[in-house]
């Protein structure tokens, strides 16, 4: 019996959807995360585009010290040297007369850059380490994880402080590089654990067996099959690592061990500002609040991504 299958009228092609697109859609619906993304976008744009614009319009850079002695003082926001209202310094000046807005924006550049690069460093190390440990399993895995356990019990902050105090004081650039390494080395441990957990749960699935059967090398399996599939939790963790690394850098710069003059980061600006908190409070408040808002927004984004990628964890 020949049955005729009725063909449905096709009005639109049926588009497939991937995990990522689903997640993106969920993220967009999360108002908080969107607010966070907008704020971060604003701050990042301001940090990148702001300093050149300010320089072109007013001539102020982050290290411009005016030559007239009456200007060599701390001005409150929107105030001129004689006390009247002025648009010159929306955030006021620091004790040497440098425009605070320019410094906060430069600080943003440096803080964000440090956060991103250090997170990237820790991401790379953690991915490689965790994936290898998880995939190889057995004795190697045990040994590698034992090392992680030992490293976990080291009071990292102290070793980092010792490292930064003793080395790299020679050039500000050297200090910066050292900072990247030190900060990156701090956060890779948890990343390694997460990746390892994911890899362990993935490695016995069929697509991996298939890959092995067709002769893909270990590295190939790791790189092309395992790692891409661990990206979910990795991205979540990375997005949340950036603000915590930025916070760590701010701590270190506040103590004078991180970013050195002439560069400035939000942490070092805060350190400068704390000195005059009794009479010039804006010098601390502006860099501090800018940093808080940035971290705040990044945490929103991180929460949002986590919820978007991992719907089971959603609490409604």
């Amino acid at each position: 019996m020949a049955a005729t299958t009725a063909t449905q009228p096709t009005t639109e092609p049926v588009a497939g959807t991937s995990l990522w697109q689903d997640a993106w859609r969920r993220l967009q619906r999360n108002k908080l995360a969107v607010t966070g993304m907008v704020l971060v976008a604003i701050i990042v744009t301001a940090s990148l585009a702001g300093p050149p614009i300010i320089e072109r319009t007013t001539g102020y850079t982050y290290d411009y010290i005016p030559s007239e002695p009456e200007l060599l003082k701390a001005l409150p926001p929107f105030t001129g040297p004689d006390g009247s209202f002025s648009w010159e310094h929306p955030m006021g000046t620091d004790t040497s007369g440098r425009d605070l807005l320019a410094r906060v924006l430069l600080g943003g550049r440096i803080s964000l850059m440090v956060g991103l690069i250090s997170t990237f460093v820790s991401l790379m190390i953690g991915l490689a380490y965790g994936a290898t440990a998880g995939y190889l399993g057995g004795r190697v895995d045990e040994a590698m994880m034992r090392i992680v356990d030992v490293l976990y019990s080291i009071p990292y902050m102290m070793v980092v402080i010792v490292l930064l105090s003793l080395f790299g004081r020679n050039t500000p650039l050297g200090q910066l590089v050292l900072l990247f390494i030190a900060l990156g080395a701090v956060s890779w441990l948890t990343m390694a654990r997460i990746v390892r957990g994911q890899v362990i749960s993935l490695k016995n699935q069929e697509f991996i067996l298939a890959a092995r059967a067709t002769g893909v090398s270990t590295i190939g399996i790791l790189a092309r099959h395992l790692v891409p599939n661990t990206l979910g939790p990795v991205i979540v963790y990375a997005t949340l690592t950036i603000p915590s690394v930025m916070l760590l850098e701010a701590f270190l710069s506040f103590l004078g061990l991180g970013v050195q003059a002439p560069y400035a980061s939000w942490g070092s600006l805060a350190a400068d500002g704390v000195q005059s908190i009794a009479i010039f409070p804006w010098q601390l408040l502006f860099p501090g609040t800018t940093m808080a808002i940035t971290l705040f927004s990044m945490n929103f984004i991180g929460d949002g991504i986590r919820d978007a990628l991992d719907p089971q964890m959603r609490k409604s």
Binding site: S153, F167, F254, I277, L284, I293, F300
Partner: protein, 305 residues
């Protein structure tokens, strides 16, 4: 359980020695004369010091001596704080930092758990949103902004509290403890809320409610135990964060605790003091982690070591 504890305690020694070795290595590798920094001592004094510390011996002999001293607990005299033995500095500084840290964490627990529990019970209410918003601010506001802001407000404008210094158990404790505890309060509130929400949905709570127990009994006697597990497991990594936080808070409020001494020791290349503090803190961190693990086992009967 006992074997677990013993094994952990035994592993303390090698771990501490590893940490101390790394630190010692860093200090010795640092450019310049590690011992006196940029100082140059009169030749007679320098000769005496070199003899006393065996600096003319090969490095592995010095390393061995340092390890031996560490194991014995004799770290020598501080170079920054003339004539004061490292152990006496530790004896003075540890109670200060311990008091500050403990007070901060207890405060964080009390406020955080309360806020988180109420938020979980009143889920999606205005209180819930407000407290979780406050929590997010707490996590994002660095303590070196919060601390001085509190000082500028409460100490320097309204003259309510002292802006710095340490007077033992006195009002001087309030601002540093609050500053230090803010971020933990926030984390604990969020964790408690999440944990409680999960527990409150579970069957045994439904049973308890069905039995007619008051909400208060349900929460206090049944829900909290399970709901607080995330808080407990957070306490481990929280300690590491507490360390970083204490260093900055002690700096801001001029508190004579371990953090301040540690920073000064680093700035002055005070090797005995650096090693002493690092050794002590490593031991403390390991022991505290052990305590947290034991507490976890006590609270959660599903966990077996």
């Amino acid at each position: 359980m006992l074997r677990f504890i013993v094994r952990r305690l035994l592993s303390t020694v090698p771990i501490v020695l590893v940490v101390v070795s790394i630190t010692w290595g860093l200090i010795r590798m640092a450019p310049g004369n590690f011992y006196t920094g940029e100082r140059r001592l009169p030749p007679a004094v320098e000769r005496n010091i070199r003899e006393k510390y065996g600096l003319d011996r090969p490095w592995y002999v010095q390393y061995g001596r340092m390890l031996g001293n560490t194991v014995r607990g004799d770290f020598g005299n501080s170079l920054t704080y003339e004539g004061q033995p490292v152990n006496s500095i530790l004896a003075n500084a540890v109670p200060v930092s311990a008091l500050l840290g403990a007070l901060a964490y207890v405060l964080a627990l009390i406020v955080g758990i309360t806020a988180g529990t109420i938020a979980a019970l009143k889920q999606n209410s205005r209180y819930d949103y407000a407290s979780m918003a406050a929590a997010l601010i707490g996590i994002s506001l660095p303590n070196f902004v919060l601390g001085p802001a509190l000082v500028a407000w409460l100490a320097l404008t309204w003259y309510l509290l002292p802006p710095a210094l340490w007077n033992g158990f006195s009002v001087n404790l309030i601002l540093p403890a609050v500053t230090l505890s803010a971020v933990y309060m926030a984390y604990i509130a969020r964790l408690t809320r999440a944990g409680m929400l999960e527990v409150l949905r579970s069957n045994y709570i439904r049973t308890a409610r069905a039995k007619g127990l008051s909400e208060r009994a349900v929460v206090m006697r049944h829900a909290l135990r399970g709901g607080l597990l995330p808080v407990l497991s957070f306490s481990g990594p929280a300690l590491a964060m507490l360390l970083a936080g204490t260093i900055v808070v002690e700096r801001i409020f001029a508190v004579p605790g371990l953090g301040n001494y540690f920073i000064n020791a680093n700035l002055n290349r005070d090797e005995p003091l650096i090693i002493g503090i690092v050794a002590f803190v490593s031991i403390a961190v390991i022991l505290m982690n052990l305590l947290v693990d034991i507490a976890y086992a006590v609270v959660d009967p599903r966990v077996r070591y």
